[in-house]
Amino acid sequence: MSAPPVLRVRGLVKEYGEGDARVRALRGVDLDIERGDYVAIMGASGSGKSTLMNILGCLDVPSSGTYEIDGSDVGRLDERRLAILRNRRVGFVFQSFNLIPRMSALANVELPLVYGGIGQAERRARALAALEQVGLTDRVHHEPNQLSGGQQQRVAVARALVTAPALLLADEPTGNLDTASTEDVLEILDRLSVSGRTIVLITHENDVAARAKRVIRLVDGAVVEDRRQAPVDGPPPRLSGHDRADQDRADQDRADQDRADQDRADQGPAGQEPAEPGPANRDSAEDGAAAR
């Protein structure tokens, strides 16, 4: 491909702490991500996937190694250009939503445009369009604490999309969601992938990864597996086999349970992240149902 990749990472190393307490979170990661790709990064907790994601989103700086977005070297940018980069090129979706409290959904989605210097009228139109894309037209004036977890995450996705970034990064976007909300968010991501958006997503759930075109597995801060599931310029695998969708939804609960068991097995004694939905998640599931 002649055009430079959206992301090019070379020899990325990140270390925390000093001396004996030093932890190497990333041990030289090389990665190219093409435009329009849908990449899932998998790995047990402590494998360095969140660290990688934070560096890709320009939220953290690597200890060494280079990182280019659209051909420009992020390490050489000053604070101001970095802010512009975060604003225009990258959309970030967090596991814990990270909406600003006491601001309506609309205001939250408008925020990146405000910092991007877009005028009020256009801002509103684009924010409403983004909220429509995630199916929240009827919730625009609700504040985060009036929304269910799934709705909050969809607002966060709308916020990440509203600046039309080259790259959408999602750090375990479904980690705090119940199954129905997970399905909503993943469907939105599938649609975005079809429309040509580049997506990088972190997950430790196999059936979330199954929907990506490419799966990268990290172990102890290094890439151990890079598997392509669908061509870059085609639709994501999930949408090529359309008929499976309904059955999957029906089997969701059982699948969840299986997945949780499997995850525990995968992670072994080192795995510390609770994979099964805890009581909090059940609550939010009920909330989600009630809000509907």
Binding site: L59, R80, R86, R88, P112, Y115
Partner: protein, 415 residues
Amino acid sequence: MNQFEILRFALRGLLANKMRSSLTTLGILIGVAAVIMLVAVGEGSSQSIQKNIQRLGANTLTISPQFSGGGGGGLRGGGRGGNTGPRTQARQLSLADAKALTDRTLAPSVRSVSPVVTASSPATTYGAASHTISQFVGTYPSYFEAVNKPVAEGTYFFNDDVLAARKVVVLGRTVVEELFGSVDPIGKQVSVSGVPFTVVGVLKEAGSSGMQDADDVAIAPLPAVQQSLSGFGSLNSIVVQATGAEATTAAQSEVTAILNQRHGITNDNPDYRILNQATLQETVSQATGTFTVLLGAVAAISLLVGGIGITNIMLVTVTERTREIGIRKAIGAPRSAILGQFLLEATLLSLVGGLSGVLVAFIGTRFTVAGIEPVLVPSSVALALGVSVGIGLFFGSYPANRAAKLRPIQALRHE
């Protein structure tokens, strides 16, 4: 990203914590109001003191004898050898001294000279009423103008009355009230230590200045008082009026020259004392100026405390909203926007506090405080307001900088 949006964020931030914002504002309000009001009270008292001094008479020198000094009298040959020893013979002020001061060529800056004798507390009666006048003055008609005591009813006495030693008197308001009550005193005869004086006029009310009642006074022609009350001895004082405010210093040196010559004084230890109204006024205004500065300084401390309150609250706000700062940075807020938002929050707090402080001070200075009418000093309003905004910027910049410098990932991980 324009300024208006930053302002909107700042306002939203402040309104999210109304109680906290208003209490912080209160600190600045009290500081600003205190500065303006205390300076106004200081200025008011200074002005009232100045007015009191002016009421004593403008452009006047009061010469009074001083017994510790003295000229080269008869005892100079007594082995004391020089001018430093204690004086045994100090000359009193005499009518001749007063006359000498009227010399137009030696003392061109002198407009009028009024020799003064005072009879000490003579008992005065009218019919059954009796009153002891605290100040019974014998002088010339020029005295009225020199010491700024105009007549409100009746007339002054004139040079003819002085020459003829007529027993006429002009009374102060307090004396009239004590002796006559509501009766018109003009033309009535009062008895002063048994000597009958005819009342020709009543002085305009001067009001009490400090301890002394300036209206408990009677003024009569000099020879009449000397004849009947004080005797033909020395003068108690000489009141000299200069030709103008700027001529008082010249008049003082002319008077000094004439008296030194007449009293034979060669050193700087004269046997008289000259009280210059202008220098007195200057001294007093310096003293009251210091007083005003002192009041302002005390108030400025409370303004400073208010400023520290702003820092404190902004630090709390920044800590509390670290996560929000992280989110804003993650979605592309430039450092300047974060800095601007928190700096503006601090400045708004102090500006609102400052403006309401000015308002409170404007209302407060309309009331009389401890008998003093406060006088608003415009520069103090501008200064207090400017300082309060400056405090917002200064004390807000540390927390705002801390917020702006946070790395997004640090801020996001903050709990």
